[in-house]
């Protein structure tokens, strides 16, 4: 299993968020989530410009095995989506924390990021689920 990057924050539902240099945020699903799902075959991404409320289902990742909703970790407006996932959804399997990002957003309240689980807490959560 890939190591969990320390700069990421997480939801219990396995979404990650990264603060980018421009002060906006990137969202993806964790390496644990992609491993649970197995080979991804389709990704539905939100429309650019859409306003997302934290906790709203805003994307779908679908594998050979199952379809899974992705929830917005923080409220904000969608700036861009990762277009290469439409043809290469397996990018998420290969690099969930990097090239496999789903979309970026500008946060209504950037401090919401700091309220999410940090990498250590998320690792702890995964360890507990293993038992």
């Amino acid at each position: 299993m890939t190591e969990i990057p320390a700069d990421l924050r997480f939801l219990k539902t396995h979404e990650w968020v990264r603060r980018t240099d421009d002060g906006n945020f990137r969202v993806g699903i964790s390496d644990h989530a992609q491993a649970q799902l197995g080979d991804l075959v389709y990704v539905e991404l939100p429309e650019t410009g859409r306003e997302l409320a934290a906790g709203a289902a805003c994307a779908v990742v679908e594998s050979v095995k199952a379809a899974s909703d992705v929830y917005a970790p923080i409220s904000g407006r969608v700036l861009a989506v990762n277009e290469q996932l439409r043809d290469k959804p397996e990018t998420i399997n290969e690099d969930a924390f990097g090239e496999g990002w789903l979309f970026s957003l500008s946060a209504n309240d950037p401090s919401a990021f700091d309220q999410l689980l940090d990498a250590a807490s998320y690792a702890q959560l995964l360890a507990e689920q293993d038992h």
């Binding site: 491993a35 197995g38 080979d39 075959v41 389709y42 779908v60 679908e62 050979v64 095995k65 199952a66 379809a67 397996e90 399997n93």
Partner: protein, 363 residues
């Protein structure tokens, strides 16, 4: 406590993701289900199917008993080693299990039955054969591996001595032979050429490693499921069970109504159903747009009502989703499926969806 096969430790050492499959600890995949699927279609894959059970039936009464027990007719099996796919029915015509029966000699047959039904099957076979002159031997001492794909033959041949090789090379489809300690059958559940091989549990690991060294790559139950779906093969417990007859499960071709005097279990129920009209059919579906058809999704059939997807998946060879669905008889040609709240049109397509490693015409 999960049950394990003789290859369990080897799967773990190969990095398999293990899952509880009907009480058995089995490999789902060894990294990528999709790559394993393609490997079987293009070269050769290796499956552990030791959770399935071989049952040997021996004695003077065996042939007549099997002609009564099974919906297909073992009298079709003339040459030694020939095999037949059949349903085993209850008196109401419901499917207790689907199995392969091998004809070894006039007094010696072998059944290979599903893992999830092994206890039920044994109890049924024992109760139905009570008082008959035959022995029932449960072969839990044997492991079973499936070597499947266009390269399966050359891989297996390379491991055999000259005389063994001659025997195996001569096997026709659906024929088996005992070759040394191994029982080699030219059968499978993927739509590809290949073999299912029964051998002593203690020899399984070494044999598996030999096959891997010769170019076969391990494949898990995930790939096995997408391969069999593409090949148009039913899965027991999902596409048919005790509540459905073979006629409602696209398995009418496996029921031998001739000769009419053969009295097999379930016959009168099936004849009644045939006379009254079969109310539900199992059909193949294709989704030409994005999305994945999955087990339990509703199929909307217009005026004829609703059906349900029994097996559905993304089909890696096709790059789109296919499914089997049980729908009311007399349904329209274009059906719709409720895909997570979105209604999509699906096309009826008669399986198999993939033939000889290639998409069937029209896909």
């Amino acid at each position: 406590m999960l049950r394990t096969t003789p290859l369990n430790a080897l799967h773990r050492s190969l990095g398999a993701r293990m899952v509880d499959f009907g009480g058995w600890d089995m490999p789902l995949h060894y990294g990528s289900q999709m790559e394993e699927h393609h490997q079987v279609r293009r070269e050769a894959g290796l499956f552990d199917v030791s959770h399935m059970l071989a049952v040997d039936l021996q004695g003077p009464a065996v042939r007549d008993f099997l002609r009564h027990l099974l919906a297909n007719d073992v009298a079709k099996l003339k040459a030694p080693g020939k095999a037949l796919y059949s349903c085993m029915l209850n008196h109401a015509g419901g499917v207790l299990d689907d199995l392969i029966v091998y004809h070894l000699s006039p007094t010696d047959y072998r059944l290979v039955v599903n893992a999830g039904t092994r206890e039920k099957d044994l109890a049924w076979i024992r109760s139905q054969s009570a008082g008959l002159d035959l022995q029932i031997r449960e072969r839990s001492d044997l492991a079973m591996v499936a070597l499947q794909g266009p390269k399966a033959r050359e891989i297996l041949f390379g491991l055999l001595g000259e005389t063994e090789r001659e025997v195996v090379e001569a096997l026709t489809r659906f024929q088996a032979a005992q070759v040394g300690e191994r029982f080699v059958a030219r059968t499978g559940y993927t739509g590809e050429d290949g073999f299912e091989i029964l051998l002593p549990a203690a020899s399984a690991e070494a044999f598996w490693q030999q096959l891997m060294a010769a170019g076969a790559r391990p494949a898990g139950l995930g790939a096995r499921d997408t391969l069999r779906l593409e090949a148009g093969m039913n899965l027991y417990g999902q596409d048919m069970d005790e509540s459905t007859t073979p006629l409602e499960s696209a398995l009418g071709w496996t029921v031998a109504f001739d000769p009419p005097e053969r009295d097999f279990i379930g016959r009168s129920a099936l004849e009644t159903q045939r006379a009254e009209g079969i109310p539900r059919l199992l059909v193949g579906l294709v989704l030409d747009e994005r999305g994945v058809l999955r087990h339990d999704q509703r199929v909307l059939c217009g005026d004829s009502g609703e059906g349900v997807i029994t097996s559905g998946s993304f089909a890696p060879t096709l790059g789109k989703s296919v499914a089997f669905a049980r729908v009311p008889a007399g349904h329209a040609d274009v059906l719709r499926v409720d895909l997570r709240g979105r209604e999509v049109a699906v096309r009826l397509f008669r399986p198999p969806f993939v033939r000889n490693g290639q998409p069937a015409d029209g896909l």
